[in-house]
Symmetry: none
Subunit: 417 residues, 2 copies
Amino acid sequence: MNKAEVITIGDEILYGQITDTNTQYLGEKLGELGIKIIRKSSVGDTKDAILQIIKEGFERADLLILTGGLGPTKDDITKATIAEFFNVGFKTDYATLEQVKDFFEKRNRPLLEINKLQAEIPSNAIVLPNKLGTAPGMWIEHNGKVLISLPGVPYEMKHIMETSGLEKIKVFFKPKTIIHKMIHTIGLGESFLAEKIKDWEENLPSQLKLAYLPSLGIVKLRLTAQGDEDRQELLNLLHQYVETLVPLIERYIFGYDEDGNFSAQLGKILKSKNLTIATAESCTGGYIGHMLTLVPGSSQYYKGSIIAYHNNAKVDLLNVNAKDIEQHGAVSEQVAKQMAKNVRLKLGTEIGIATTGIAGPDGGSVEKPVGTVWVAYSDVYQTTAYRMLYTSNRENNIKLSSLYALNLVRMKLLGLE
Amino acid sequence: MNKAEVITIGDEILYGQITDTNTQYLGEKLGELGIKIIRKSSVGDTKDAILQIIKEGFERADLLILTGGLGPTKDDITKATIAEFFNVGFKTDYATLEQVKDFFEKRNRPLLEINKLQAEIPSNAIVLPNKLGTAPGMWIEHNGKVLISLPGVPYEMKHIMETSGLEKIKVFFKPKTIIHKMIHTIGLGESFLAEKIKDWEENLPSQLKLAYLPSLGIVKLRLTAQGDEDRQELLNLLHQYVETLVPLIERYIFGYDEDGNFSAQLGKILKSKNLTIATAESCTGGYIGHMLTLVPGSSQYYKGSIIAYHNNAKVDLLNVNAKDIEQHGAVSEQVAKQMAKNVRLKLGTEIGIATTGIAGPDGGSVEKPVGTVWVAYSDVYQTTAYRMLYTSNRENNIKLSSLYALNLVRMKLLGLE
């Protein structure tokens, strides 16, 4: 199995002023190609430190991925240091120069000399194009090993890997047959999922491996088949075990393989049923709307939202009964239900969902502690509400209640709730 | 200047399943002591990898801080590996044994044999007591250098450093001073900022270093003072250069040091002026509401939003003139202005902001390409709109226009626009 090291460059990562999200992404993607990350390191923007870590990295690993330090300002020295390491000069990459010019032209901004330098690359490098920024990725082969240098900005790094980097890695390292099946789940924590599929997991044959990839509210299961068998044989084995896994956790599965975006999957259900949706948000403050509208084409089923953060807005914009707010509080079943129903009527959609809660970190009481959230669902047949209790972490509460509300729609539409 | 390396141990960190927050804390605290972190590394729970990284670390640095791998289960091997590295046996630390017994007694949980092993430490180690858990910190001196081993749980790690670790480091290394100043900017890209402060930057004395820390729409500048001078002298030098820097880029600065959350800073301005705000979002789909409501206490100035994604919602909920939509399109100055003004009136706030645009990746035309966004601001004196042109990346367009809209409020309220 080929080994990789990820090296992040930049004082800001070394000092923890920026949180590194790149390594998680790279670990996942390289894992899919059968390449294992054995070490991850961060060094500052210091020539000697970068030179040393490249040298060491090549002693241990077959693939080094460097991120960061490719900006146009003079504190970014990765490119010059790479050239020094390989003892090569620079060449102009004209495709990159065009891309940089175009980048500034489109934005109606002047092209500075400093920006043109982005097209200068070490003479032994091949460009991995970056359409989202001005720093190109670079691919350098060295004694049968590879160094890849990428910008540190996560969306640029991902874009480069997905449009060229991953494919080149695959072609270069020709890892032995490895096939993945991704199963995307929502609504059950990692350890509870593990409990449900314990017997199944214990009986996996040696060619199959299961990984849990949890993120907030979502757990991806990655089942990997790897072995000396031919591809079709491995594929058959994989499918056989997927077929026995699915019935154990079916209600939590919202997609397979590349269908891992929850909002997009919900969008498909809404489109297939020709239904439209509107949301009334209090504690989630617009995050449900944001999740829905991140999906291209969501205007087909999403009409809009009323974010009624202040109680007056709940009354004025959503016709919530002021007496109910007074009597039961804004965070209550009664208010949540009226919000969901009335936003549906106001916006003329088939479905309405609503959230009202105490996101925290302050504002709780004994009866309604921080993290209490009411989530309501309304269609022409029913209006129901559910009480959740999350933690004191504001951001997590917002994100978890938003996911809960959207998953509630999925469950209702599929007859699972 | 003394050098330190931080080594995090654990498969879950290597694969990015846990976000490392310890390094940020350690970087900050060691930085205050004038000790510089030159590298941070992560390895899995593998003996050879840990042995190798300790060996390498001692070659480069004066202080190694290891976190993680001190739990009682058998996948945690840090302690045994440290003993092996120094070629020493184990001794019982009786104070730790008492502490472990006490820990379980207080929690009414049985004390297992496996837990008693927490009091066994390498014979060359001194305990750094852990009152919040069962794994003690350890301090080991070696050829004039130091290895510290700490549990990976952030609050235990911090507790140990604050009650004994930092003091011991200070006494042992007697380090010189380092001071940071963070300056948070919005509204100007990294290279344009660099252009504006070029002369200033070129004249920095050798004790001062500047770093650019860009993220989407935001650039942080970090100015670091470091030298043999005493703390007050360095502080004076730092302040002197901050004072000449600020006038060059003042309109872009929204905060200093820990005040780096843009929405929170805008919230402070709104509160100080006793103003309230509402938003009417189309292409941003709720993201502005989300940014505002991520800030605890935002209900003081944020009343709510109307997300009018569908054109009907713009007419029905925001009283946008249907004829204007027909004549100028939903993405137009006329519509943006009506949205901003009407949401302000509907929600009874002093300020209204609105967005309408083509987030992409599809849906553009020659006249209005993908990435075209109108952002409008309205208060009792004025209603104005601005046309932006972003890229074809939907998520970035949403986030950049949201930041633009909120920054527009900051600029208007501070008389900068």
